[in-house]
């Protein structure tokens, strides 16, 4: 059953939804800067040590990385469909689609876990036991430090997104949203797409260098 909730500070539901959307874009802007520092650090390091970074990146698991990228792009497509369904008043369809998107997110995390386990087994965790068979292993160690931090932060964001999708998806599945009020689906959708955009760049920077060496 659709039960729109108009908070007292807003004129109408449209005003409330517009404000919520503006809020999530403001949050995304802060996230861009938060992650931007790490991307800038990576860029400087790659500029200073192009060969060492390429040699280290060639050791990442490109098959898992590529499959995971396709999974995340597909989840974004499903989430976009869910958002459009909710705005068209099809709340239950939106809910089912959001669960599919959440399941794809969990699949991504599962594959990432397998990848992490393989890398730990290959001593690619920075520290005393780190080893990498390249001409510049110390450069490789810093690359893998950035790799673990950046992909770890991304995975944390993805888990938050999965939880949000599950909660809002459950509400949508019970028919909570309508043409007039579907703002929560839209806000979660924007967050999920942002996490996808971050991964699009992470994939290129982490998995693709050094493949033609």
């Amino acid at each position: 059953m659709s039960v729109p909730v108009l908070e007292k500070q807003f004129v109408d539901l449209a005003h409330q939804s517009e404000t919520a959307e503006l809020g999530i874009w403001g949050f995304i802007a802060t996230e861009v800067l938060f992650l931007g520092g790490l991307f800038a650090a990576y860029s400087v390091y790659r500029y200073l040590h192009p060969a060492g970074v390429a040699a280290a990146a060639a050791h990442t698991k490109i098959v898992i990385g590529s499959v995971n990228t396709a999974i995340l792009l597909t989840s974004s497509f499903i989430m976009s469909w869910a958002s459009l369904a909710a705005s068209g008043g099809e709340s239950r369809l939106a809910g089912r689609l959001m669960w599919i998107a959440a399941a794809l997110g969990l699949t991504f995390i599962g594959l990432k876990g397998i990848e992490y386990a393989q890398e730990i087994g290959e001593n690619l965790w920075p520290g005393a036991g780190f080893s990498l068979d390249t001409a510049e292993p110390k450069v490789g160690e810093v690359f893998y430090f950035l790799y673990w931090v950046m992909t770890g932060i991304h995975a944390a964001h993805l888990l938050v997104g999965v939880a949000a999708l599950a909660i809002i998806g459950r509400r949508a599945n019970s028919g909570a949203y309508s043409r007039a009020y579907h703002s929560p689906v839209r806000v979660v959708s924007l967050y999920w797409h942002f996490v996808d955009v971050v991964w699009i760049f992470l994939f290129v920077l982490i998995y693709l260098p050094g493949r033609s060496l």
Partner: protein, 94 residues
């Protein structure tokens, strides 16, 4: 069985095609041009997600300001950081 709107299906297929192209080019040996080519393809992919999936083109003007502010400051971060490293050796004492 409900079907997805066609424009998001095309966007999804476009994204997968760009991903496949990017992976293929990584093995093609583009040399020093490789990073630029890969980043250009990624920017195209991000633009598809922003415009089609995030429906940025339908947003109000203020929303564009909020969305643009993050990327503007990101550009400032990269340019100022980059200028330091790109010019650092020019000022080394002789």
């Amino acid at each position: 069985m409900p079907r997805p709107p066609r424009h998001i299906v095309f966007a999804w297929l476009g994204l997968l095609a760009l991903l496949a192209g990017n992976i293929g080019l990584a093995f093609a040996g583009l040399g020093s041009a490789a990073p630029l080519v890969h980043i250009a393809a990624s920017v195209a992919m991000a633009a598809i997600v922003l415009v089609v999936f995030m429906e940025l083109e339908r947003g109000v003007s203020l929303l564009w300001v909020f969305a643009g502010a993050g990327f503007f400051w990101l550009a400032v971060l990269f340019v100022l950081t980059g200028i330091d490293y790109w010019t650092r050796y020019s000022f080394a004492p002789s």
